[in-house]
């Protein structure tokens, strides 16, 4: 393994991590502030990707497509919150899981009804396509670098929002004592709608950004959702900082484990056996990581409560 290959894989891990952060940030806010398990978060990711693909197809502009993804996912999030989620806050987690699972099915079949069963096309814009040469001679796709930059910028923006603005104060207050801030005159139901729409918009943005790299198709959100849950469990529920650290840990562990483990097994095993054992173990790594974190800190790295 060369140093260049290793650095390239670290960048890949970072890019995967910030993408997971966009998903996990919304999930952890909703879980932390409202105490709601939202399985349909992956569907909002899909809504963002489909909105972006449709707008990019009609206008040819990637920036417009990203804005459409944000808007469509936020709108879908707000509508879902008003129509369904609102009724679930006082119910137990099992009811929430059941209702939001139903939402996944509704979103999936609704999207298929509108867009058909075949994957849609969404491509990287010309100005970000192709590789750039980094110091040291590493060829790295410009678009992936852009995802890293956008993700980190959004993380910084969220920290500012949570710690420096009135909305952020209300979100943190709502997280620690929902009855008390309602008694202080904050319109808690409006706050919940705003938080839910914000989380949905981030998921939609992640869907659109990743849709250009991967494929835009029905059901694309569910595999990411599982990883996003792993991230918020590692990071601690309700913590944006935890979501960022957790996402980067999961991204780096998954990417680097995928190449380092087979290479390690190759030292004392035959090539194809090393490859299959190594990659089988690598796919378990993030769950092993999660288990270790939970043993060490049951409330997650930055979680306030267990």
């Amino acid at each position: 393994m060369t140093v260049l290959l290793f650095i390239e894989q670290v960048l890949n891990g970072l890019q995967f991590g910030v993408m997971l952060f966009l998903m996990a940030a919304g999930l952890t806010l909703v879980f932390g502030v409202m105490g709601l398990i939202n399985l349909a978060h992956g569907s909002l990711y899909m809504v963002g990707a489909f909105a972006a693909a449709a707008v990019a197809g009609a206008t040819g502009s990637f920036v417009l497509a990203l804005m459409a993804a944000l808007a469509a996912a936020a709108a879908a999030g707000a509508i879902v919150e008003l129509a369904v989620i609102r009724r679930l806050y006082d119910r137990d987690h099992l009811d929430q899981v059941l209702a939001t699972f139903a939402l996944i099915l509704i979103f999936s079949e609704g999207t298929r009804y509108l867009f058909g069963s075949f994957p849609l096309f969404l491509d990287i814009p010309d100005y970000l396509s192709g590789p750039v040469t980094l110091p040291g001679g590493i060829q790295y796709p410009a678009y992936r670098l852009a995802i890293i930059v956008i993700g980190l910028a959004i993380a910084a923006g969220l920290f500012w929002l949570i710690s420096r603005t009135r909305l952020g104060i209300r979100i943190r207050a709502g997280e620690s004592d929902r009855e008390m801030i309602a008694a202080l005159g904050v319109d808690i139901s409006k706050l919940y709608t705003v938080v839910f729409a914000l989380g949905a918009a981030l998921a939609g943005l992640a869907g659109a950004l990743v849709g250009a790299l991967q494929s835009v198709q029905v059901g694309m959100g569910e595999p990411v959702l599982i990883l996003a849950f792993v991230v918020i469990v590692i990071g601690g529920i309700g913590s944006i900082k935890g979501a960022l650290i957790g996402a980067l840990m999961v991204g780096l562990t998954d990417t680097l484990g995928g190449i380092l483990l087979p290479a390690m097994f190759r030292l004392f095993m035959e090539n194809s056996a090393a490859q299959s054992t190594g990659s089988a173990l690598a796919s378990m790594l993030i769950y092993i990581l999660m288990a270790m974190v939970l043993v060490w800190r049951p409330q997650g790295l930055f979680g306030a409560r267990a």
Binding site: M1, L5, E109, Q214, S276, A280
Partner: protein, 382 residues
């Protein structure tokens, strides 16, 4: 979607009853179990549409079809098969796309003396020791297109290929199939996670390996992701793969990234014969899109069944199986015959992805393997 598919089936049945085909004999009831919802629904929809198109064009009022959605879940496929066999009394089952679903359904259906015609899945377990006189595969044995890719790699002069496929039975069969015919060296061999969408890590390893070519089997969305990321990485090694990642249904989502890629297939819309020309034209007129590989397989499956119905009565099992085995129908692929284990003997072509106007599609550039059968024939005792 169940409602809609019932309507379609009922519509076909209605058309069939108004047709004046004058053949006599017992009705043949077909149960089609295929994937019409969830990821991968595009494949099942194409198989269904191809099958129903052939039934409609034949206008044979003795052919009754029911269609059900397996949601790509083995347990649901098994329930549907039990229901179709026990309460709907079907004579023939067909439609399954995925090998794991086929393994769950086919052995028990054939053991209950039902005919199973596979329009897609061809797992090796059903071609070798597990073969059955009631099981006919009208598409291919799973290894076939990968063997053809290996054959193409030899003629194209590839000497150091990097190969990758998902870590599940069909992915392992794919790499085995490629290595069976490919004569050069391997620069590397990777099993990826099933359903993986980000291939940055694998592409970096390909770049570092010094390969001169890449073979991959990544069906559906996995292939779309890989090709887009590969094109964006600045690597320009030649790529070859089976047709599944370059099919009509997904090419539009891959876009320019697929242009010029070579892939292996037993069918393409430009194969020059009357049956194929009629199929491509009728499919476009009926559904308003170009037919895919899967649609051609569904169409051939229905025509095989219709050819057997015109020769033998379904109540005479031996005669009906013999009529199926003759494969006396005009396949859209041209020459088509069954090997001893009821899997196709057929030419497999090399195609290249091109653009016709605004539509991405394939054209045939050569034959990879002629009259190709499969290696499991000798393991089959029946």
């Amino acid at each position: 979607m169940n409602f809609k598919t019932w309507i379609t089936a009922a519509g076909i049945a209605a058309m069939a009853t108004t047709a004046t085909a004058g053949s006599h004999g017992t009705d043949v009831k077909v149960g089609m179990i295929t994937t019409l919802s969830g990821g991968g629904a595009g494949l099942g929809i194409d198989v269904r549409d191809g099958f129903l198109l052939a039934a409609k064009m034949a206008g044979n009022d003795r052919l009754k079809i029911v269609v059900e959605d397996d949601q790509r879940k083995p347990d649901i496929a098994v329930q549907l098969a039990d229901k179709m066999i026990q309460s709907e009394k079907v004579d023939v089952l067909t439609g399954i796309i995925w090998s794991n679903l086929a393994m769950a359904v086919v052995p028990s259906a054939t053991a209950q003396d039902k005919i199973y015609l596979s329009p897609n899945a061809g797992p090796s377990a059903l071609a070798g020791k597990g073969c059955h006189p009631n099981y006919f595969n009208v598409a291919w044995q799973n290894d076939n297109l990968h063997e053809a890719a290996g054959g193409y790699a030899n003629t194209a002069g590839f000497g150091n290929t990097f190969i990758l496929a998902p870590n599940y039975p069909a992915g392992q069969d794919a790499l085995t199939g490629y290595k069976r015919t490919y004569e050069g060296e391997l620069a590397g061999e990777i099993f990826t996670k099933l359903g993986q969408k980000d291939y940055a890590s694998e592409i970096a390893q390909i770049r570092a390996s010094g390969a001169d070519s890449v073979f991959f089997f990544l069906p559906g969305g996995m292939g779309i992701s890989f090709l887009k990321q590969y094109a964006d990485s600045g690597l320009d090694l030649p790529v070859v793969g089976p047709a599944f990642s370059f099919d009509q249904g997904i090419l539009q989502a891959v876009g320019d990234a697929a242009m010029g890629v070579k892939n292996t297939s037993q069918w393409n819309k430009d194969i020059d014969n009357a049956a194929n020309a009629a199929f491509v034209e009728a499919f476009q007129a009926e559904y308003g899109r170009l037919p895919s590989l899967y649609a051609s397989q569904g169409y051939d499956t229905a025509n095989l069944l219709l050819s057997a119905m015109s020769k033998a009565d379904i109540t005479d099992g031996d005669a009906f199986r013999a009529a199926l085995k003759e494969a006396d129908f005009d396949s859209v692929r041209g020459d088509f015959a069954f090997a001893a284990n009821n899997h196709p003997v057929q030419d497999i072509y090399v195609r290249e992805v091109i653009k016709e106007g605004d539509v991405y599609t394939n054209k045939i550039i050569g034959v990879a393997l002629e009259d190709h059968s499969n290696v499991y024939v000798n393991d089959c005792k029946m």
